[in-house]
């Protein structure tokens, strides 16, 4: 199969080269993505139109199924068969793994001509570069460490959005006493891990987060600080209503919206839910970063460009890369998606207050060296290690495991997954 399809591809490429040699090849790109729902589909359509306007032929290859599991299977099969799509929506360390396998194309030329080095924060460059060369194009930045709060509910107990974890606990205790659910939470492993990483960032600080969750320093993972993190997680467990297991994150957001719960800790995709319900930031809901020393946990979607043969396909790939990181697409897409542009020089006029706060914080975090990749959302760590973290965070949260035991299990699980 493999040699045959390779022969076929080169035969077609040859034929194309022979017939179209005098003309410039029309750009063409097959795009594999899992943006199939609401705002995401609209955003992809915007990209598709921009691509067509520049004379490109877009071959759409959407794979349904949110998290991208189904897409990963399709991608693996295509690459093994020697017929990868031009651009694929993958992110974080998965990009590095594909690059290591030698499957990704080099985008240095586009990057140099569009001056990407100047407009992308270092933290994002690290994600999309392999051995100093661009192999992927970032689309957006989602901030993960957000608290979404209902101001009316907080006002009932005379509280505002907490700025330290002690304050968080005090506010939550008051809310509990008043018969209000302090924290709306969906008990799915990745959601448990999302809360866990914001607590690590808050209790341990930026350096501790980097040591433990990014560098996987065993001393940090087994430290007393980590015990404190799990102590705080145990407290958080008490602030959640009993029906939380298996609940989707958007249902938890709805609880905050309806005033059944006071706060939710979730990435800024939650904003899309508020926006869809016609809520206004600052009035109907408040967005605030979770307590930390100016930390910023980022989650960034991107398109990796796979090795393709043929002038038209390479031209398509380069055009696509240029458009994706172009200011125009960065603005339209992120307005649809609720995230913020990956490049820092997009005009802010059209964005809401939460997005502008996120942009300001990202710039100051990038300057202060406190911009960090999210572990729970597969930016800091690839599949196996991330899975080990999630396992322990969720096992601890959903049982009566002691903090000490959780730390021991964490060290063991991370060693095993490396």
């Amino acid at each position: 199969m493999k040699p045959f399809s390779k022969a076929l591809v080169s035969a077609i490429a040859l034929a194309a080269a022979v017939t179209a040699a005098p003309l410039k090849a029309d750009p063409k790109a097959e795009v594999l993505h899992y943006w199939t729902s609401g705002g995401e589909a609209k955003a992809v359509k915007a990209l598709q139109e921009a691509f067509a306007a520049r004379g490109g032929e877009w071959v759409d290859a959407p794979v349904a199924g949110g998290g991208g599991d189904a897409q990963a299977a399709v991608l693996r099969a295509r690459v093994l068969a020697g017929d990868p799509p031009a651009a694929v929506q993958i992110k974080g360390p998965n990009i590095q793994e594909w690059a290591e396998a030698g499957a990704l194309a080099d985008l240095s030329n586009v990057a140099a001509s569009q001056n990407w080095d100047a407009v992308l924060p270092d933290a994002i460059q690290n994600i999309v570069k392999y051995e100093g060369n661009y192999v992927a194009v970032p689309v957006n930045v989602h901030r993960v460490d957000w608290i979404w709060a209902n101001p009316e509910v907080l006002a009932k107990v005379g509280a505002s959005v907490p700025t330290t974890w002690d304050e968080f606990n005090a506010t939550a205790d008051k809310l509990l006493a008043a018969g209000i659910i302090p924290l709306a939470h969906g008990g799915q492993p990745w959601q448990d891990a999302t809360v866990f990483e914001t607590v690590v960032l808050g209790i341990g600080g930026v350096d501790f987060y980097r040591k433990a969750l990014v560098e996987l320093d065993m001393d940090a993972l087994g430290s007393d600080t980590m015990v404190k993190v799990f102590d705080q997680m145990r407290k958080m467990r008490g602030y959640v209503d009993p029906d939380f297991p298996g609940r989707d994150w958007n249902l938890a957001t709805a609880m905050v919206m309806r005033g059944e719960a006071a706060m939710q800790i979730m990435g800024d995709w939650a904003k899309g839910e508020f926006a869809a319900a016609g809520k206004v930031p600052g009035k109907d809901y408040i967005c605030a970063s979770t307590p930390s020393e100016n930390g910023y946990l980022l989650n960034s979607d991107s398109f990796a460009m796979f090795n393709v043969k043929g002038d038209d396909l390479i031209a398509g790939q380069n055009l696509l890369a240029e458009l994706i990181l172009g200011t125009e697409f960065q603005e339209t897409f992120n307005l649809f998606k609720g995230s913020i542009p990956a490049r820092t020089d997009v005009s802010r006029g059209a964005f809401d207050d939460c997005a502008i706060k996120s942009m300001d914080d990202m710039v100051s975090a990038a300057d202060g060296g406190t911009l960090l990749g999210s572990m729970a959302h597969e930016i800091a760590q690839a599949g196996a290690v991330r899975g080990a973290f999630i396992d322990i965070a969720t096992a601890h949260f959903n049982s009566d495991m002691s903090s000490q035991e959780a730390v021991e299990k964490l060290v063991k699980a991370i060693k095993l997954a490396q």
Binding site: E97, G187, D243, P245
Partner: protein, 291 residues
């Protein structure tokens, strides 16, 4: 000439499907076994590193939980489904009216896929939507039924849904067996003054041993390959307290870039199936020779 064609024809007709099965089933079993001994991570990698993936597999908490769950789930599911199926069959066997209709009702859950059973039971067992709220609404305030939300009870919720799905099928199996029991023996026993209860316990059920065996084998392989029920009903949670080996295998292979460990877990599952099937096949095949 035609004789020879007639003799070879069945073999020619069967040959393609035989070759396909040989390749796609047994070939891939061998391939999976091989992959489970390599250092494959995101893509298959053919460098053999020996039993290391198995070592890692058995050090993983998640796998231990999955195996324990399989034994709890498998044992209870098989036992309860057979007991309920058997009782239903005996009750249906009492020459009642509308038997065909009732039989269809009991058998029908089998026609529903596990993913739908799981979703339906997820709503039924959700404390704030389902049974608990309904019964509390009727006035029994202290009633609680939060199995899917409890770390220790979630696996029993799986058993309940799986039994609901399969008990009717076991009933149909037993009912046809009951009907094929020699009526003369039963008449003779009742002439001798045996109560119906005793007739069932001492004569009919013991004569149905082969049906018991078939039921156990069918239910056992259903239990081992259960995947969709967990995904739909509990999502493997709370935490990972209700995952089964099949879910573990999927998670490792497709989510965590641990193809070798995923393959190792698949081989352990195969060994579990083999441990049940081989003695069964052995006894079946040996039994035939005596006839």
């Amino acid at each position: 000439m035609t004789d020879r064609i007639a003799r070879v024809l069945p073999q020619i007709v069967v040959a393609p499907s035989f070759a396909l099965i040989l390749f796609f089933v047994y070939g891939f079993i061998v391939w999976t076994g091989y992959i489970s001994l390599t250092k494959s991570k995101m893509l298959p990698n053919y460098t053999v590193i020996g039993l290391r993936p198995y070592e890692r597999l058995f050090q993983m908490d998640r796998w231990t939980v999955a195996l324990e769950n399989l034994f709890i789930f498998g044992f209870l599911f098989i036992f309860v489904a057979i007991v309920i199926g058997c009782l239903l069959a005996i009750l249906l066997d009492q020459k009642i009216r509308a038997e065909g209709f009732i039989r269809t009702i009991y058998l029908y859950p089998m026609a529903i896929s596990f993913i739908i059973t799981g979703t339906a039971w997820k709503w039924i067992m959700n404390p704030s939507l389902g049974l608990e709220t309904v019964i509390r609404g009727w006035g029994w305030e202290s009633f609680s039924f939060g199995w899917t939300n409890s770390e220790t009870l979630a696996v029993y919720a799986l058993v309940m849904a799986a039994v609901w799905q399969s008990a009717g099928f076991v009933m149909a199996l037993f009912l046809s067996a009951l009907r094929s029991v020699d009526q003369d023996i039963i008449k003779a026993a009742s002439l001798d003054g045996a109560s119906p209860w005793k007739i069932y316990l001492r004569i009919i059920l013991p004569s149905m041993r082969p049906v018991f065996m078939s039921a156990v084998v069918i239910l056992a392989h259903l239990a081992i390959k259960s995947f969709d029920l967990v995904v739909a009903l509990t999502g493997g949670g709370p935490g990972y307290s209700s995952t089964l080996p099949a879910n573990f295998m999927y998670e490792m292979t497709f989510r965590r870039n641990e193809i070798a460990v995923g393959a190792a877990s698949a081989m352990v599952m195969l060994a579990t199936v083999a441990a049940i099937m081989v003695p069964y096949l052995y006894s079946e095949l040996r039994g035939k020779k005596h006839v």
